[in-house]
């Protein structure tokens, strides 16, 4: 891959002040990506969500975000004003969250909400907006878009809600989508179907996808490349297909303590946390994979 990377982050640090001393949520995180599926995996508190949010400047204002470089399509994101960021968030980078129920307005129909999102981006007539909305619902494999168009958010299931959210995020045709645990609340078959939609978007539209998840197995099978985070640091960046063969002690520890369908019923190996993982020498940069 020799083209300009879609997103480059270099030496990202995020600190949250707290009365008990500052909490450094992200330390020296660097990566860069093109039009691919990049997974960020980690346990809770690993800083994976904070990393995703800091790209979009969606962190609370008291958070202290610093980076040597944060470039999206060659433009510097660091000193963008809130107004410019809103533009970028709407047009270029979208975000899908874990629970669609909180992101949709409960008293308006699903269709109207997507229409509205469409109208804020393009100057079009009502009718045209509706047509585009139905197209979008169709694009995320909703079988009867016309019926779903008139449903209220509480009338749709979790999987359907997540598809609707994705449809809404697709309207401005973003070149990067950040999905924070988009399928964790879903049943496994529905989860696979939603992932298939995201997958198709990446392969067909050439979109970039940052897929934040706690599920090692899922990321290994779904993404192209994987960043493994622990304690705010990048432990390892590797090709997803090589993840299971990783030799990094943390990655190995995580993989080992997963119960397997065809494993034994012996006690699971416990992850032994190594203090050294918190030191700088364990922070990895992204040179290897690019």
């Amino acid at each position: 891959m020799t083209q300009i990377p879609l997103l480059t982050v270099e030496n990202l640090n995020v600190t949250f002040p707290s009365p008990k001393g500052d909490v450094q949520a992200v330390r020296q995180v660097s990566f860069s990506m093109s039009n691919e599926k990049l997974g960020i995996v980690g346990e809770s508190g690993s800083g994976k969500s904070v990393t995703g949010r800091s790209v979009l400047k969606l962190l609370p204002s008291y958070a202290d975000v610093a980076a040597d470089r944060m470039e999206f399509k060659g433009q510097d994101l660091r000193n963008r004003s809130e107004k410019e960021m809103r533009q970028i968030r709407g047009e270029e980078i979208s975000m899908v969250m874990q629970d669609p129920k909180y992101s949709l307005n409960p008293v308006r129909t699903v269709g109207r909400q997507i229409d509205e999102a469409y109208c804020t981006h393009r100057k079009v007539s009502r009718k045209e907006a509706k047509e585009r909305t139905l197209e979008m619902l169709d694009a995320v494999k909703i079988r009867n878009p016309k019926r779903v168009y008139n449903l209220y958010p509480h009338e749709v299931s979790g999987g359907m809600g997540q598809r609707i959210m994705i449809a809404m995020m697709l309207i401005p045709e973003p070149s990067l989508m950040i999905a924070d645990e988009p399928t964790s609340a879903l049943d496994v078959t529905v989860q696979m179907q939603v992932l298939a939609i995201l997958d198709d978007l990446v392969t067909q539209r050439g979109m970039g996808l940052i897929f934040i998840s706690h599920d090692l197995e899922l990321v290994a099978s779904f993404c192209d490349r994987v960043i493994i985070m622990y304690g705010g640091r990048v432990m390892e960046i590797c090709e997803a297909r090589n993840l299971k063969a990783s030799s990094h002690p943390y990655t190995r520890g995580l993989l080992n303590c997963l119960p397997k369908i065809n494993g034994s019923d012996e006690y699971l190996p416990i992850l032994e946390r190594d203090e050294a993982w918190h030191s700088d020498q364990f922070s990895v940069s992204d040179r290897s994979a690019q």
């Binding site: 809770s44 299931s157 359907m160 049943d187 496994v188 290994a220 119960p259 397997k260 369908i261 494993g263």
Partner: protein, 264 residues
């Protein structure tokens, strides 16, 4: 140990009527570890709620240790059957210390010797006295779940119902809690009924598994069948495939399991 026959339950009326359990039959032997797998809305947790008496308007037969259960559960039942809930953040009283949470069942059943019992059970779940006077907000998710296990064990039950006991936990913590559960099962010769959506967890923990879909048990398999993936039912096969990780080529073959209101 647990026998369930023709368990039926209906929620709501008229247009909102939903037949949540449609004639569920289960037979779990003493000392067995039995898994109940299914996706959300399949009714797997409802089965647990019927056994514990949190739901009372079911029909059919449930018997524990040879005695049939009727509408009201007595104290003797709760000494025999205990439960661990899914959400470690919601299952502990936010204003009670670990000590108080654990003493409460001892007091209810008038067992006496509360302090010694609390100390013993805290040791057993690997927490120790250090944690005894903490409030839940001073504990991590895994520690809370250990307290929940301790609370279930303090009455020395013979049956433990586990409702997705690790699905809210990180994988490294999940491993610790699963190991804890396996250890106490061996030490106390407990009967487990484990409800989960995660085939890997169930396969790891259970010798037999029932798969539920839309209020029915579609298939019962043993661990060997589960690991080999030899199923007779189409739904089970699909669930198994989906649990194997992401594979673009098999997904198009998935049949949707939408509820009727969304069926278009």
């Amino acid at each position: 140990m647990i026998a369930i026959e023709h368990l039926n339950i209906v929620f709501g009326q008229g247009a909102n009527r939903s037949h949540a359990l449609k004639g569920v039959d289960l037979e779990i032997a003493a000392g067995e570890s039995f898994g109940l797998v299914g996706e959300s809305g399949s009714g797997k947790s409802t089965v647990l709620n019927c056994i514990t008496g949190l739901l009372s308007h079911w029909t059919g037969r449930i018997s524990i240790d040879g005695t049939d259960l009727s509408g009201q559960r007595d104290k003797a039942f709760y000494r025999k059957v205990q439960m661990v809930f899914q959400d470690p953040y919601g299952s502990l009283h936010p204003r009670h210390t670990v000590d108080k949470t654990l003493k409460e069942p001892v007091l209810i059943h008038g067992l006496g010797d509360a302090n010694a019992r609390v100390e013993r059970v805290l040791d057993e779940v690997g927490l120790g006295n250090r944690f005894r006077f903490r409030y839940p907000h001073q504990l991590s998710g895994g520690q809370r779940q250990r307290v929940a296990v301790a609370r279930a064990l303090i009455l020395e039950p013979s049956v433990l119902l586990l409702d997705e006991p690790t699905s809210a936990l990180d994988v490294s913590i999940q491993a610790e809690v699963l190991n804890l559960l396996q250890r106490v099962r061996k030490e106390r010769n407990l009967t487990f009924l484990l409800v989960s959506h995660d085939l890997a967890v169930v396969s790891h923990m259970c010798s037999r598994v029932a798969v539920m879909n839309r209020g029915e048990i579609v298939e019962q398999v043993n661990r060997n069948q589960l690991q080999a993936g030899t199923f007779s039912d189409r739904y089970t096969t699909q669930l198994f495939k989906a649990s194997k990780g992401y594979d673009r080529s098999v997904i198009n073959g998935f049949v949707d399991h939408f509820t009727r209101s969304e069926e278009a």
